[in-house]
């Protein structure tokens, strides 16, 4: 059941909802959720244009994987595959398998809402909701029905501390999130994502709009988040990939050219194209 296409209206909705709810109940309770991603022969199309070709990769839990490549290479498209964010774009098509913790997320029984709760995402542009700082963090918990003030307070504090933002905002939790600086807003978005306890966090160029100091803080934060979450980060900045990631994938024209340990990737690239790219011969 794809929750976001307009074909919802025609489907046999009661049956679908019931099975959807049952499915998600069974799955989440019995799943061993670690945060591994396995992609097998993935092809992705925008209309007739093929944006991703024969992608296969495995991402292990508690790793930071960086994706680099020239703009338009498909790196953003690829991470948006992992939480099915591309479903929102009309006329897109996916072939192949994407397994998260062993379950195919493009299976027709997948509950996208449950998937997205487990796979958080931080965007290029910071996206604070027009609510207070507190409400921003608590929102993800409130929608699943957690209303107990003490639990919420605790979760908000923990998430903000985890995102290294607590000290800066603890006296202003009721201030609008829009009033924070760009770097703070981005950390708020990270705090908001981890508040609902995901296994995987996707980051789509999270630092491209930030100054070097704010960037350094986010990078530092990624290092500390790694022991709890799997992080997939898209970046156009090779130094950043080198600094933060355990493994690096290089994409071009919708294909993975090289996917390797970051240390090897930058020192001993196995492909000529990769070498040209990281030495700046094209870009």
């Amino acid at each position: 059941m794809v929750g976001d296409s307009s074909s919802v209206i025609v489907s046999d909705y009661f049956g679908v909802i019931v099975s959807e709810a049952k499915q998600s109940f069974k799955k989440e309770a019995h799943m061993d959720l670690k945060g591994s991603i396995k992609v097998k022969d993935l092809n992705f199309y925008y209309g007739t244009h093929q944006a991703l070709k024969n992608i296969s990769m495995t991402i292990e839990p508690h790793q930071i994987v960086a994706m680099i490549g020239p703009s338009g290479c498909g790196k953003s498209t690829l991470i948006r595959i992992f939480n099915r964010m591309n479903d929102l774009i009309p006329q897109t098509r996916v072939e192949g398998e994407v397994l998260i913790d062993g379950t195919d997320i493009y299976d027709k029984n997948t509950d996208v809402v449950s998937l997205r709760r487990r796979v958080g995402m931080v965007f290029q542009k910071s996206t604070p909701f027009p609510k207070s700082i507190y409400e921003n963090i608590a929102y993800g918990l409130k929608i699943v029905g957690i209303k107990d003030r003490r639990i919420l307070n605790e979760a908000v504090e923990k998430s903000l501390k985890r995102a290294a933002l607590w000290e800066e905002v603890k006296d202003n939790l009721n201030k609008s999130a829009m009033s924070l600086s760009g770097g703070q807003q981005q950390r708020l978005c990270i705090a908001r994502a981890i508040a609902i306890d995901p296994q995987i966090i996707l980051m789509d160029e999270p630092c491209s709009a930030l100054d070097p100091i704010a960037t350094a803080r986010i990078e530092e934060l990624m290092g500390t988040l790694k022991d709890e979450y799997t992080i997939v980060v898209v970046t156009h900045n090779m130094q950043q990939a080198g600094r933060v990631s355990d493994k690096t994938a290089f994409l071009m024209h919708g294909q993975i050219i090289e996917f390797n340990k970051t240390t090897d990737f930058f020192t001993r690239p196995s492909s000529k194209v990769t070498e040209d790219y990281i030495t700046g011969r094209f870009g």
Partner: protein, 308 residues
């Protein structure tokens, strides 16, 4: 380093928090899905309900209107009270007369202001004028009627076509100002620069190059404004006033289609009601035709610019 015991407590707490989120998620998932689906229907229903009402109106209007139309309607004068037959020939002509007068008032001021805002005004002044134009757009049309009554009808000591045209004309000003400014602004700056580079003064460039290039858009704006005032009734009630005969001069009361529809609709005669429907369909076709013509202009213009 943390003490081992506290880290055990911490990880237990973490585990219970994970469980809490997971179980709350599962407990509320069904209800949330239900809401999500229900809202699709509720919102669709809103749109369908609105469309249903609006179609009801349109269909009723078209059926009643077209079955009430006949040739007399376009060629005859109204019959005296209580007599059957007759038409609204003078009202149709009157509406065109009033629109002509309105154009004389509205177009020069609106266009002049629009060109000034686009080509000459400093930003603060332009912003104030735009704001006032938007506010003017929201003033009830009957207030323009009163204004025209005070400044036209009272000095002339008579209801007249002039005062009706004046009322409609000032209503057109803000609309024409806003649209012509936008279209003049859209003229590529290279055109202006090319003219200025030839040593032509800026005002000549504006008059000879900029305005002619934006003419199609400006015309569209004028048409849309015309379509809007063509159906106005309230500002004519005590300016144009209405007339059962052909008017002989612009200083006499004049008939207008929307006025006549109003008068006939609230009168207690069946044949007048029929004519009110006929008048309504003619009026609405007029408005739609002018609007459609304006759309056609816009489309042609777009085709040009996309062809480039």
């Amino acid at each position: 380093m943390k003490l081992p015991s506290s880290s055990v407590i911490a990880s237990e707490a973490k585990q219970s928090f994970k469980d809490l989120i997971r179980s709350s998620f599962e407990q509320t998932r069904f209800q949330r899905a239900l809401w999500d689906h229900a809202m699709v229907y509720v919102l669709t229903l809103c749109a369908v309900f609105m469309l249903f009402i609006l179609f009801t109106i349109l269909i009723h209007l078209f059926i009643q209107g077209f079955t009430s139309l006949n040739l007399d309607f376009f060629t005859q004068l109204p019959k005296p009270v209580g007599e059957k037959g007759g038409g609204m020939a003078n009202a149709i002509a009157g509406t065109f007369t009033l629109l002509g007068l309105a154009v004389c008032v509205g177009v020069p001021i609106g266009l002049g202001a629009g060109v000034y805002l686009s080509e000459y005004a400093n930003q603060n002044f332009a912003q104030v004028v735009r704001f006032m134009a938007d506010v003017m757009n929201g003033i009830p049309s009957i207030v323009y009627g009163i204004f025209a009554y005070i400044v036209c009808v009272l000095p002339l000591k008579s209801f007249s076509a002039l005062s009706g045209g004046f009322a409609l004309g000032i209503m057109m000003i803000p609309m024409i100002t806003r649209t012509s400014e936008q279209f003049v602004r859209m003229v590529p700056s290279q055109l202006r620069e090319a003219g200025l580079a030839l040593g032509v003064p800026k005002w000549r460039v504006t008059v000879d190059i900029v305005i002619p290039s934006a003419l199609a858009g400006i015309t569209t704006g004028i048409m849309v404004a015309l379509a809007r005032v063509a159906g106005e009734t309230a500002p004519l009630l005590f300016t144009a006033f209405g007339n059962h005969y052909w008017q002989r001069s612009l200083t006499e009361p004049i008939a207008a289609l929307p006025l006549q529809v109003f008068t006939y609709a609230i009168a207690p005669f069946d044949d007048w009601h029929r004519q009110a429907w006929a008048g309504a369909i003619v009026l609405i076709l007029m408005v739609l035709l002018i609007n459609g013509w304006a759309q056609f202009y816009v489309m042609r213009r777009n085709r040009w610019s996309s062809g480039k």
